[in-house]
Symmetry: C2
Subunit: 369 residues, 2 copies
Amino acid sequence: MQARRVFLQQLALGLGLSSMADYSFAADPHTSDVPVDRPLRVALLGLGGYANIVAKGMQECKMAKITGLISGTPSKIDTWKKKYDIPDKNTYSYENIEDIRNNSEIDLVYVITPNSLHHKFVLEVAKTGKHIICEKPLADNAQQAREMIEACKKAGVRLYVGYRLHFEPHTQEVIRMREAGEFGKIMHVNNYMGFTIGDPTQWRLKKALAGGGAMMDVGVYSLNAARYCTGEEPIWVTAQESKTDPVKFKEVDETITFQLGFPSGIIANCGCTYNFNHSERLHLMGSKGWAEMVPAFGYGPIKGKTHLGPINQPSVNHQAYQMDGIAACILQNKPDPNVTGEEGLKDMIVVDAVYESIRKGGQKIMINS
Amino acid sequence: MQARRVFLQQLALGLGLSSMADYSFAADPHTSDVPVDRPLRVALLGLGGYANIVAKGMQECKMAKITGLISGTPSKIDTWKKKYDIPDKNTYSYENIEDIRNNSEIDLVYVITPNSLHHKFVLEVAKTGKHIICEKPLADNAQQAREMIEACKKAGVRLYVGYRLHFEPHTQEVIRMREAGEFGKIMHVNNYMGFTIGDPTQWRLKKALAGGGAMMDVGVYSLNAARYCTGEEPIWVTAQESKTDPVKFKEVDETITFQLGFPSGIIANCGCTYNFNHSERLHLMGSKGWAEMVPAFGYGPIKGKTHLGPINQPSVNHQAYQMDGIAACILQNKPDPNVTGEEGLKDMIVVDAVYESIRKGGQKIMINS
């Protein structure tokens, strides 16, 4: 993570550029890596709401480009291929994904379907030999995540999870400060992510498509952040659920609070919801300092302060930074940041434990990972 | 609570005064209450650190005055009687508390000893026929609290608990807004109280004197606030404990997180600690608005904001306001605010459940109160 960030800063500096957004497909002057003479060519699989946000962000990319489209809805392909100038030969339905194997204009497929389809599509795409980014949550549960990682390993392709915040400068700065010991010993974390969900007919409220509710979708932010706030892996999990609207949230969880116990004794006390606003925050308390980010997890602008004052970092397009960041890993063979399939699996193990603790009345679930 | 606040505002207005701090021992022009022609005469029992803060605050009181001293340490009596001009006949040791019965210059005894002595001293003072304020937490557990309430009832004296924040204007404003529906439906609460405790030899770290650790001392703030943020009584409790320093916190709890489930489905997710700073906050999230107070529970200045902007209320001396507020209840027979022994008991029932949940590995403890 840290190495990656320093590299990008050095790259920008070396090129005399003021920010990452200015760099171009030049060889990295500071390393002996393969020169980057072309962008990472990305096909988007699933052309829903978030795919639109990714595609828009990618227009700012310097190292990644949309070159393919995969959708179950022909009318979406029509609209998108015109908008993003994609040739017909690079468009696919869900019936002919295996043909992507022969397409030399696609390096990577970004799976952006409803959660419960991640497993199925990652297994299918892995067989094509293309690298994969899978949107978060990686899967419905840890078992699926393990199968996805195994399939990608077997196929010799990389698997990333869409944890865009690991490319976000405020988040990176908090991680840097933590690693540098600037907060002292981390003592406690209190993270929340959530919002009041709209349209009651959307897929996020259907168990069969979403896998779960607030915990799967937004709780993963609080959880992943608890891990990057502490730098430790949880050893126990407790969780509690509440529903104030059992009709709207008939199939999936509305609000969950969960606690992660870490080896050093830190507790991360987290929450997530689909039914109220103004909850979103990251709050890290250490023996020598603290960090508070509000908002901490949305698409930006992210804002934060520490015991030293405001976190002065640029507001960036998260999706562009994520895609350029992953492009740099693949094209320049940089060390993987904390957005690998294994990172996604670590969170799914905790998500499983959260649901298990709720089923068992709040009981402490030990994690043996 | 609300009636009381409005009364004090009207009283101040009626007297042409700009704030509560300006009112004097005048008859209330808006009611038919007993005119107040003398202050509430208070004896302090236990002359430690917090008694000093109370005594200092009471120098600003308009309706309450220190007239007596009770201590187990003769040298403290000597120092205090000179400082506060208390005659020898109004000073007592722990051996002759029963003699207070015959002292017409003492209306009320404020018990400010280490927690685990509250029960013993409240029972003793009740027999003297004097009213009582007992510092929080009311007792070591709910059973003691019930015995204290029963003893005061039997003796015909009033029992209050030192919940000073119920007299604090920012806190009162949040409660007023909640009662007026200005936050809409309350959806979630996330309260923390704590600090890094100093001197490792102090009584707060001794189980026999403190009854417990962070939960007893500062967790009660998060807990009491969860009740005034929601206006509901919890029906279940879960809790988790961590110790990062098992030596310093050998006898008492260092950090506890706890969750309260309310009948409407609200969860209050709370925390308390003796081992880190920058945690203190009250955070209330409703369907139409929110409130956030940082700091929320210390001696002031309390600061807060809501969806409408900053909470514009005066910074006051909490101890002076508490003592004047309770004096008004007793001398003018005003309705009791939410600082009665019964209020203290409600929190002790939850404290018991918190410790029980921890003993049972986070298990949900149902409350039948």
